[in-house]
Symmetry: C3
Amino acid sequence: MPPERIITLTTDFGLEDAYVAVMKAVILGIAPGTRLVDISHHVHAQDVNGASYLLYSACRYFPSNTIHLAVVDPGVGTARRAIAVVSAHGFFVGPDNGIFAPALAHQGGLDVSTGSVLHGRAVELANDKYRLGPVSRTFHGRDIFAPAAAHLAAGIALSELGPTVDQLEVGGYGLPVRTLDTVSGRIVHIDHFGNAISNIPAKLVADGSIFGISGRTIRGLAHSYQDAHMVAIVGSNDTVEIAVRDGSAADVLGLHVGDVLTVRSDR
Amino acid sequence: MPPERIITLTTDFGLEDAYVAVMKAVILGIAPGTRLVDISHHVHAQDVNGASYLLYSACRYFPSNTIHLAVVDPGVGTARRAIAVVSAHGFFVGPDNGIFAPALAHQGGLDVSTGSVLHGRAVELANDKYRLGPVSRTFHGRDIFAPAAAHLAAGIALSELGPTVDQLEVGGYGLPVRTLDTVSGRIVHIDHFGNAISNIPAKLVADGSIFGISGRTIRGLAHSYQDAHMVAIVGSNDTVEIAVRDGSAADVLGLHVGDVLTVRSDR
Amino acid sequence: MPPERIITLTTDFGLEDAYVAVMKAVILGIAPGTRLVDISHHVHAQDVNGASYLLYSACRYFPSNTIHLAVVDPGVGTARRAIAVVSAHGFFVGPDNGIFAPALAHQGGLDVSTGSVLHGRAVELANDKYRLGPVSRTFHGRDIFAPAAAHLAAGIALSELGPTVDQLEVGGYGLPVRTLDTVSGRIVHIDHFGNAISNIPAKLVADGSIFGISGRTIRGLAHSYQDAHMVAIVGSNDTVEIAVRDGSAADVLGLHVGDVLTVRSDR
């Protein structure tokens, strides 16, 4: 027997309501052998960028036939498309609002300046046969996305779900900017510990670099969170993060998502 | 191999403690192949009505042999009965305090004015053999309810668990009231997004109806959450809900569980 | 087919980030048939004692080949050891900071005054072969602990993971103190309901005992939470807890972890 197919779930539904359980019920009704793994249901309401960061950071650790179902969907009930995408690192099912852009771009599957699909394939979830009908105006997670993910897990081909699309929405995805001796990026996530995580990859940063954020300067990369009161350190996503020893960098330094982080070589 | 039997879990235990994990441990010790799906553990402490709403809205999406285990149990250690019920849409295991009444009534299995069991069968969990002994005074979720659910999942008959009961507690379950041109219901749940969900079914409401809540008036049903600042819309349970665009209706309009919602035809 | 091997997870990571999901992805990549059960991810940041209490109270209910993976790890990136321990009630994988001490001591596997391993076996997770390389400075849950737990679930021997260690850190673990007619213990956990749970076992306490906490006196053990406004009751771990009817004892009485609870015989 092959290992169970995995479907991950990422939403802004929270866990006080039954919405997540209803999606799981729909999936298990269609593909009973599926293994369900929650990424997070605590994305801030309608924060597509926040969800896209979680997917980007998590999807690479899952087996490559994993199906990543994500529903942060301010446009539910409007004309925004519902999509499924296959890429080097897995399948993605959700609204076409940029939620998968960082994950797909990291894998070379998406041109983030144009939205062109470069590798893999994207389809619009247009085939009524794979929906839970009648489709509601408010809960496409249950009626469109969960069924599509479950049918993929049950073995149907991506092309069965609907027509190919060549262009996806890219959302608020951003890359760091390099000049001669500076890299300039942004804080893309504040984690549970208050660490401020940037989009600047470790490979662009030398050990002795000088970091500037919110009017403060940090000299050199730290080797552990305990090295100094305020540290710049390579985090678990291989990007630079700013942390405070035994405290929350976000609270202590007043950092927010979107803040600029600059890195200069120490010459 | 048949698909794994599903047990869902609904409690007010929260996830900071180990209580939920202990119930899962007990279940997996008795019925190792069971699939566990959390509905919610964030029911407000001792809010039986809130839990009953979640079960009502979720249970219909699960396979009909699913076992719904629910422990919101202010009466633990008192004389309240422990019950298991089989109905058209599944099995229910928990305290006899009305927590299953809306789900059972929706399926025609319970007369909510008298508490009579109309279809299916209810038993009292009186058989010591299917308890984890000695039974504590404080944690029947672990000692009585989880073992009963697990033994059902493992294949014993409902009647093995104890004697049949004909009458169940109905709790605070309420139906909307109809007059000649008005339907009057109540807000039964505020969801994670702040949407105020009523017990008024869509089939009682015409598109051009006039909605009154908390001194405010809304004309006509909306088609998406984005249609207007304040909308009445058919939510994912096929009941009317009140929402605010990109915000929380509960916060913006000051709505609470129990508030009256009236619907008038527009003549 | 044998039942799936269980891995439990206990962390202070919260569920807003993808950290927990990444650990699960790593586990399922190595041991696809593993069953994952969350104990809690809402341990207060870096609260090793709090996590040790949850493990102590939950692990005895799981099958004895269960693997308990715990990552509350203020010392990540410093010289603290990474360990795996086998004991009468299961396997434990995590940092060597006392997080497993109460669970191991309860089973007679650890001498809490010296840290000596009395039964079972402990090893240091030193074998590179069972790590996810290269090991980061910040996320040993992903790079060291999850792979070790998964390889155990997949069937390797504990001794494969690294050299035996004879001495473990014991952390802040404490036992109640007995004098002629008094037992003196401490509050070790405030649960979700605000109940204040002590480390005084029921077997040291007679029904008619007099309880003293925070300047207040309670006479006699209660039989249910509803017995009186303020009760001392034997909780689900078989230790004494202080509760307030339909309220939070922690809030109403101002109780905290660490507060002294005394029990005197009523003579």
